[in-house]
């Protein structure tokens, strides 16, 4: 003989907050909401566009682990060193009508590991003939390597030192001069930063990293005065709080953006389907056997059709956005568990006296359904709604994982799908998988706890005595 379960929405929320699980749920979900609210401070307004514009991420390292990995491994993993034009000192000489402009910058390299990649860029505003450019790399031990010597034309020129075979040849020459052998695989980011020439090569030990002051020189030779903006990027192996993906994108921003998308999609889908299911289930039971029969038949139908394959089919041809997906999800969940609950409760309510009374004074049936019946049912669906939020988040994630989700928005499922198709599981790019996965799990834990807290209040079988 306990106290009757509370029925008002406010009352249920209040009671749910009082339980330990309810508190935990509110803390977790509150964190998520805070995260979502912090987005304007972190990322530009056109973030979604930028996320999909892979070229705009060139200054970020590719596949860098999160910065905090350093603290766990105890090795000082390299961060990106970006020498922009303001780091370069400019000197000019004029020799027989030719101008030699030299841009010199230095940086200290004190890390325990090699950089992941090197890149040199130059932006010039010359008109007409191309100019001659010389890029020189000077190591702390005084070795000078001529990385590039050739012509560049106007505009931006990028030298992919780590990938460009022409530049690699120059580096190979340097190794040959030192050791008398030509390495099989040339990895400039290792050779240029390695202590002993005998160990140049692919599997260079990190103990061999040459620490100290490195100098980069850009020399431009031209027959008239020109201005240029040089840049030299030494890409690190760690970046930011969540690392980067293969396409150099800052995963933290993607993960952050995933939060409001997931929360909005999950809650809207869960609440909309619950409302619809309750209305349909209750209406069937309320308006009599014929309607009830109809609802039951629709339920049979949805039992038989395979919803996920059909959603996948639809996404394959129609290229859904997150909002059209929401629409489809709602269409395929017009009947479900909530309508079953609504149906059985409506049958009980129908027998109650005040309903009888309302009938005798001639209240309209539809009005009664919406004013008396449905508000009574809703509390019983709270737990289910809370539980359905992660279910719908995962539905979206499933489609995105297959590459069928919203083509624009970064969602957690899409990040996971990108990671999977880039082979992150088999290469050990764990941060690309674990962090978005952790976020989804955190949200689903939050809603699971919330659902349990609701259930405990409404469902006497879970109430703590």
């Amino acid at each position: 003989m306990g106290t009757p379960p509370p029925t008002g929405i406010k009352q249920i929320l209040k009671e749910a907050l009082k339980t330990k699980t309810g508190m935990a749920a509110v803390i977790i979900l509150g964190m998520m909401i805070l995260m979502s609210a912090s987005i304007p401070f972190y990322s530009p307004v056109n973030f979604v566009k930028r996320w999909n514009d892979l070229k705009s991420w060139y200054e970020y390292p590719s596949l860098a682990a999160p910065v905090w990995v350093k603290w766990f491994t105890g090795t000082n993993l390299p961060e990106t060193i970006d020498l922009t034009s303001k780091h370069f000192r400019v000197t000019e000489e004029e020799i027989s009508g030719h101008y030699i402009t030299t841009y010199t910058a230095y940086f200290r390299y004190t890390y325990d590991d090699y950089p992941s990649e090197l890149k040199a860029l130059i932006k010039t505003d010359i008109k007409g003939k191309p100019v001659r450019l010389n890029i020189i790399f000077i190591r702390p031990d005084g070795e000078e390597i001529n990385l590039f010597n050739g012509l560049v034309s106007s505009g931006q020129t990028t030298f992919d030192i780590s990938l460009d075979p022409k530049l690699q040849k120059n580096i190979a020459r340097f190794v040959y001069e030192k050791t008398g052998t030509v390495p099989e695989v040339i990895r400039p980011e290792i050779i240029l930063f390695s202590k002993s020439p005998s160990k140049y090569g692919n599997e260079a030990a990190s103990s061999n990293v040459l620490r100290g002051r490195y100098i980069v020189k850009f020399q431009v030779l031209s027959d008239k005065k020109i201005s240029a903006e040089p840049r030299f990027i030494v890409y690190g192996k760690v970046y930011g709080f969540a690392g980067t993906d293969l396409y150099r994108r800052d995963l933290w921003l993607g993960i952050l953006w995933g939060a409001p998308v997931a929360l909005a999609f999950g809650t809207v889908a869960a609440i909309a389907t619950a409302l619809l299911q309750v209305i349909i289930g209750a209406a069937g039971a309320w308006f009599g056997p014929k309607w009830d029969e109809l609802v039951q038949r629709i339920a049979d139908f949805f039992l038989i059709i395979p919803v996920l394959p059909i959603l996948i089919l639809i996404s394959v041809i129609y290229k859904v956005t997150i909002w059209s997906l929401l629409g489809w999800v709602i269409v395929f969940s017009v009947v479900g568990v909530s309508s079953k609950i609504a149906r059985s409760i409506t049958f009980q309510i129908r027998e109650e006296q005040y309903i009888e009374a309302a009938k005798t004074y001639g209240a309209s049936k539809t009005r009664m359904l919406f004013y008396y019946v449905i508000p009574r049912i809703m509390p019983f669906t709270f737990a289910l709604v809370a539980l359905n939020v992660p279910t719908y988040i995962f539905l979206e994630a499933s489609l995105s994982f297959l590459g069928l989700g919203d083509p624009e928005l970064p969602t957690w499922g899409r990040i996971l799908g990108d990671a999977y198709s880039a082979g992150a599981l088999y290469q050990g790019y764990w941060w690309w998988v674990i962090l978005p996965a952790f976020m989804i799990m955190l949200v689903s834990l939050g809603f699971t706890l919330l659902s349990y807290a609701f259930d405990k209040i409404v469902n006497p079988r879970l109430r703590e005595e």
């Binding site: 038949r297 049979d300 139908f301 395979p306 394959p309 059909i310 639809i314 394959v316 995962f394 599981l425």
Partner: protein, 351 residues
């Protein structure tokens, strides 16, 4: 309503539902005619390439060639039934599907090279049954056992922690655990292979082959069990607990019946119909595999076939799979109605 009338009525309703959903699948799988266009393009391409390899064809004049190409294309299109309007074709596909005349795949083949959809499906089905039916049975076994233990210790600390754990593990789909487990157990710990059903090349000796399949089976099986045991445990707990609170259990106690008898005759027997129905349903559903889980583990079963068919827009295969699936479900629902009627005499009147 007698049992026979009840079954007959259910059978009729389910057949109508079946027909409706099969027709809908036919329309959706063809993308309302889009696939027909693809097929026509394919025929044109096939005919032109086949003829261009024919040395006699080169001897013909330009006009004759054009005519021959058109004739051949038309013949092929007619043979494939593509000359008829989509509505008519959809009805033909519909009747073929209903009569389980599955026909031939548009693009996909079985590993032995057959294009017959029945062959393709029969090649994949045993693999899916091996993984998902086994997994479902094991998960249900573990879950039901846990649920019974929890029902006995209802609302204890153990019970409450297990409830949250069970709901939580069940909310995440299996593929989600799949990627985490592959990363942990296959990449870092190197205990299990990361995917596939056999090593490449596959062992030739039967025992070695069997062991190799088991070795590949382990991780997806564990994943599937982990993702679904919670559902069984939580459902069983609730059903049993609900029965325990029925008046007839209190009455049995008042009658002085020993706890053992109360548990078996008054709690477990009335609780069993919904649990048994649930397990039976899950076993049948397990034959459809799981699209993403099979993709993640590269397990060549029905789920992966579904995904391949969708990716290749192979409408006949999609329809074939859905129809078989729909038939299975309808037959199961009907069988369960009958079994339920036998297990639980209440239902004979209630429905």
């Amino acid at each position: 309503m007698g049992m026979a009338t009840f079954i007959a009525k259910r059978a009729l309703i389910l057949t109508l539902t079946l027909m409706f959903s099969v027709y809908m699948t036919v329309v959706i799988a063809n993308f309302g005619g889009y696939v027909d266009k693809l097929l026509r393009d394919q025929i044109t391409f096939d005919v032109t390439t086949a003829l261009s390899r024919d040395p006699n064809f080169a001897k013909l004049s330009q006009e004759e060639r054009q005519k021959l190409i058109e004739q051949r294309i038309e013949a092929k299109i007619r043979a494939a039934g593509l000359d008829k309007p989509f509505l008519e074709r959809s009805l033909i596909q519909f009747t073929q599907a209903l009569t389980l005349n599955l026909g031939r795949a548009a693009f996909l083949r079985s590993s032995s090279g057959s294009k017959a959809i029945a062959d393709i499906i029969m090649e994949r089905l045993p693999r899916t049954v091996l993984l998902f039916t086994l997994g479902t049975i094991m998960a249900a076994g573990i879950g039901i056992f846990l649920g019974l233990v929890q029902a006995r210790k209802a609302l204890s600390k153990f019970d409450r922690i297990m409830i949250v754990l069970e709901i939580f593990t069940y909310v995440q789909p299996a593929w989600f655990y799949g990627i985490l487990f592959i990363l942990i157990f296959a990449f870092y710990l190197r205990i299990f292979p990361s995917g596939g059903m056999v090593s490449i090349p596959a062992p030739t000796e039967p025992v070695a082959y069997f062991l190799d399949v088991l070795y590949h089976l382990a991780l997806p099986l564990i994943t599937w069990i982990f993702a679904s045991f919670g559902y069984w445990a939580y459902t069983t707990r609730n059903i049993v607990l609900q029965t325990m609170e029925e008046d007839f259990v209190t009455a049995a106690r008042a009658k002085g019946l020993p706890e053992r008898i109360i548990l078996w005759r008054y709690v477990l027997r009335p609780s069993s119909p919904p649990i048994i129905t649930g397990v039976a349903f899950a076993i049948v559903f397990s034959w459809t595999g799981a699209i993403i889980t099979e993709t993640v583990f590269n397990w060549p079963g029905i789920g992966l076939l579904f995904w391949e068919a969708i990716a290749a827009l192979d409408a006949p295969v999609i329809i074939g799979l859905t129809v078989i699936l729909a038939y299975l479900i309808v037959l199961t629902v009907l069988a369960l109605d009958i079994i339920y009627g036998i297990l639980d005499p209440r239902l004979r009147v209630m429905r």
